[in-house]
């Protein structure tokens, strides 16, 4: 799973974690007002703004430009493995359901060709400090195939050998051979991420993902035994048939397992976009009030268990390097989540993968045949993209500060871009005013900060600064509801 936010280190102060524990009292009218569709800001501008006139030639030009920066950024590779053995109904990722493992070999061959085409665009002194294998289900590949993939990447890119490199892999515990975990470690992976979502059997049945507590705990233990530096567990709130009591039990089990990091994502029900979601009965979904209660429960339970809210949907133990980096103001975020590494140029490989290189976003074809045909024709498979304007860059920075830190430091933005914040964002500030009245955001001379209730509606706050959204009301793309 690939998300797309790239953010600088927090400007001045670390997020106010204490405020996360406040009780949030939402009245019904407020809920109705703000429970509306909005982008998740995994990138700004968001993917609907990408266009097909940005292709391989444009991407190459942007890539070559990044080589010419005084200190070219290190590289980050995202490799998408689209195959899954079984469909989870909530899934909004790009994936192909099959039990036919023979499909992996030709896919890997084309991945290697893609790497061979793209890698020469980047100077060899640029180290790859992050590799993330996402999906789909990366453990659809055999350990031997994963080894082969890593060797192929090593042949085309300079993979970092430093101890602090981040090589991570998403694993599905239901199809995991525990004996294979040592092989993943031998390939260089030291971070694993497992989907849990909810242990409540009723919910698991409703989303077609039946995964026992035991399976999950065994996988976590095997990673620790194999020397993995960090284990992450993903949870989702807002799933069908989910209850506060059931989710509370899940949170108890998860916190007792002590994963280094926990992500709590909100379920976005968009069956018109994600076919799998049509299997979910709308009437089984929790209402907005319950969704908020579930989120509040997660925040309270994780805080009580000693987890630090790193930002947005991510939590970490206080001795995790993310928490340490946050204290040291050296935390960054990129499309693979939070990281202690400086910003990278992000290269996405595989079907539907998104790249963020220089001031550009680009995306590979979402359908497998189109991706395959491009590669077979010797074309870098770029489907669509966007060259960011200066205004996009400024707004992206503000939106990402909001999404990751819940606050924008005005002086930092003014200094960075030589602007007068109040003038540059005059329209945004007008749009922000009613949110301040509703107690979602506070604004003083120095900063704009989400209140404790506003932190749960960061997308609404960020939308005020979105020029694409506000400029083109006629052709609005469809977004999920914000709560």
């Amino acid at each position: 799973m690939q998300s797309l936010i790239q953010v600088r280190a927090p400007a001045s102060s670390r997020p106010d974690t204490a405020s996360m524990q406040d009780n949030i009292a939402f009245d019904a009218a407020l809920l109705r007002r703000y429970d509306k569709p909005g982008p998740r800001y995994t990138s700004y501008p968001t993917a609907p703004a990408f266009t097909a006139d940005f292709g391989a030639a444009q991407l190459r030009e942007h890539a070559l430009r990044t080589n010419e920066e005084p200190i070219p950024k290190p590289l980050s590779l995202y490799v998408h493995v689209p195959y899954c053995f079984s469909p989870c109904f909530y899934c909004g990722c790009n994936r192909i359901i099959t039990r036919d493992r023979s499909r992996a070999a030709p896919y890997l061959l084309r991945l290697a060709r893609e790497a061979e085409m793209i890698a020469p665009w980047f100077d060899r002194d640029r180290e790859v400090v992050q590799v993330h294998l996402g999906g789909g289900t990366p453990n659809f590949l055999t350990p031997a195939q994963i080894f082969e993939l890593m060797e192929s990447l090593r042949g085309h890119f300079r993979l970092s050998t430093r101890a602090d490199r981040d090589f991570s892999i998403e694993l599905d515990p239901r199809f995991l051979n525990l004996g294979d975990i040592a092989s993943y470690a031998a390939c260089g992976f030291s971070r694993a991420s497992f989907g849990v979502q909810d242990f409540d059997p009723v919910v698991q049945k409703a989303v077609n993902r039946e995964q026992s507590v035991e399976q999950t705990l065994d996988a976590v233990t095997a990673c620790r035994d194999s020397g993995f530096r960090s284990v992450n567990l993903d949870l989702i709130y807002g799933l069908p048939k989910q209850t506060v009591a059931g989710f509370a039990r899940t949170l108890d089990i998860v916190t007792a397992t002590r994963p280094d990091r926990i992500a709590v994502y909100g379920y976005a029900h968009m069956p018109q976009l994600f076919k799998a979601q049509t299997q979910i009965e709308e009437r089984d979904l929790p209402d907005a009030g319950t969704k908020l209660a579930l989120l509040q429960l997660a925040i309270d339970a994780l805080s009580a268990a000693g987890y630090r809210h790193i930002g947005m949907d991510h939590f970490a133990l206080p001795d995790d390097e993310l928490a340490v980096a946050q204290d040291a103001l050296s935390l960054h975020r990129n499309f693979m989540g939070y990281t202690t590494h400086a910003e990278c140029d992000l290269i996405g490989l595989g079907v539907s993968a998104i790249s963020h290189i220089g001031d550009s976003f680009s995306q590979n074809p979402r359908d497998l045949p189109a991706w395959e045909i491009a590669i077979d024709n010797g074309q870098p498979p770029v489907w669509r993209g966007l060259a960011l304007s200066h205004d996009d860059v400024v707004r992206a920075d503000v939106i990402q500060q909001l999404m990751c830190h819940g606050a924008v430091d005005i002086a930092t933005i003014e200094h960075r871009y030589d602007i007068v914040f109040a003038e540059y964002f005059a329209e945004a500030l007008v749009r922000l005013a009613p949110l301040a009245v509703d107690g979602l955001v506070v604004r003083d001379a120095g900063r704009i900060a989400a209140t404790s209730r506003g932190r749960l509606l960061l997308r609404i706050i960020a939308m005020c600064f979105d020029n694409h959204l506000n400029a083109a009301p006629a052709a609005k793309p469809r977004y999920s509801r914000v709560i």
Binding site: N67, E69, P70, I71, D125, G358, V393, R416, D418
Partner: protein, 242 residues
């Protein structure tokens, strides 16, 4: 990220803020309209897009030009066809001076970003210099600055010293034209900087990283902030000598 320095454009009467000759002319009591009477052709040309050649080696020499906006790189190709970067010209600086002694340009000049120029007919400015000692002095000063630029390359200096001298030189030149001495955009590529300083590209990046780790500079893509100019000047002092 921020706007590239651009000269405050003059008009028929007023000189551009970065004009290489305005102070000399004004000191002599000439405003811009008088230059027209003296048939000194001053022609604003451009903007030229990034990558446009403004002149090439061997082109007939007719005019010198002051940069009004953008950055110009001059270079030659050696006998093996390898590019050798000679220099970078910022707003207010004059290109083509090294052609004065011959009838053709001895190097290539290319726009590194959007470049606007102010062209002076050379015969015209030479005639003006003959009448006006101040303009002549200014011309000599520009010529000697052009020669002085080569000092960065000669000599047995460390990579850090070269890098510091390069940055301090840019800083002083921007400051002289009224732009920020501590924050500017590096319009030249890493390859060009490396070529100019006779270093490998990787060494340029390592040098920037070292200066950044020492707290002397902050680098954000092509944006440079000089955080400790005195220390950079100290590091550059053996090359720049004041």
């Amino acid at each position: 990220m921020r706007t590239v320095p651009i000269a405050d454009d003059g008009d028929a009467l007023k000189f551009c803020s970065t004009c290489a000759f305005s102070s000399a002319c004004l000191d002599q009591g000439y405003d811009k309209s008088r230059l027209g009477e003296l048939h000194v052709l001053v022609e604003h040309v451009g903007p030229f897009a990034e990558g446009t050649h403004l002149f090439r080696e061997g082109d007939p020499f007719e005019a010198i030009a002051a940069v009004r906006a953008g950055t110009v790189k001059t270079y030659v190709n050696d006998s093996e066809g390898r590019e050798q970067v000679l220099g970078f010209f910022l707003p207010g600086e004059v290109i083509g001076l090294n052609a004065i002694s011959r009838n053709t340009y001895p190097c290539n000049a290319v726009a590194l970003d959007s470049v606007s120029l102010c062209r002076f007919s050379f015969p015209g400015i030479a005639a003006l210099a003959a009448r006006m000692p101040g303009v002549q002095q200014q011309l000599f000063k520009l010529l000697s600055q052009d020669i002085g630029k080569a000092a960065l390359l000669a000599g047995n200096y460390t990579a850090d010293e070269r890098m510091a001298a390069f940055l301090v030189s840019l800083s002083r030149r921007y400051a002289a034209r009224g732009f920020s001495p501590t924050r500017f955009r590096l319009t030249m590529t890493r390859t060009d900087i490396a070529n100019y300083l006779r270093l490998a590209s990787e060494s340029v990046s390592r040098g920037f990283r070292r200066l950044q780790d020492m707290g002397l500079v902050a680098v954000d893509r092509r944006e440079i902030e000089l955080r400790d100019l005195p220390k950079l000047e100290a590091l550059a002092s053996s090359i720049l000598r004041g």
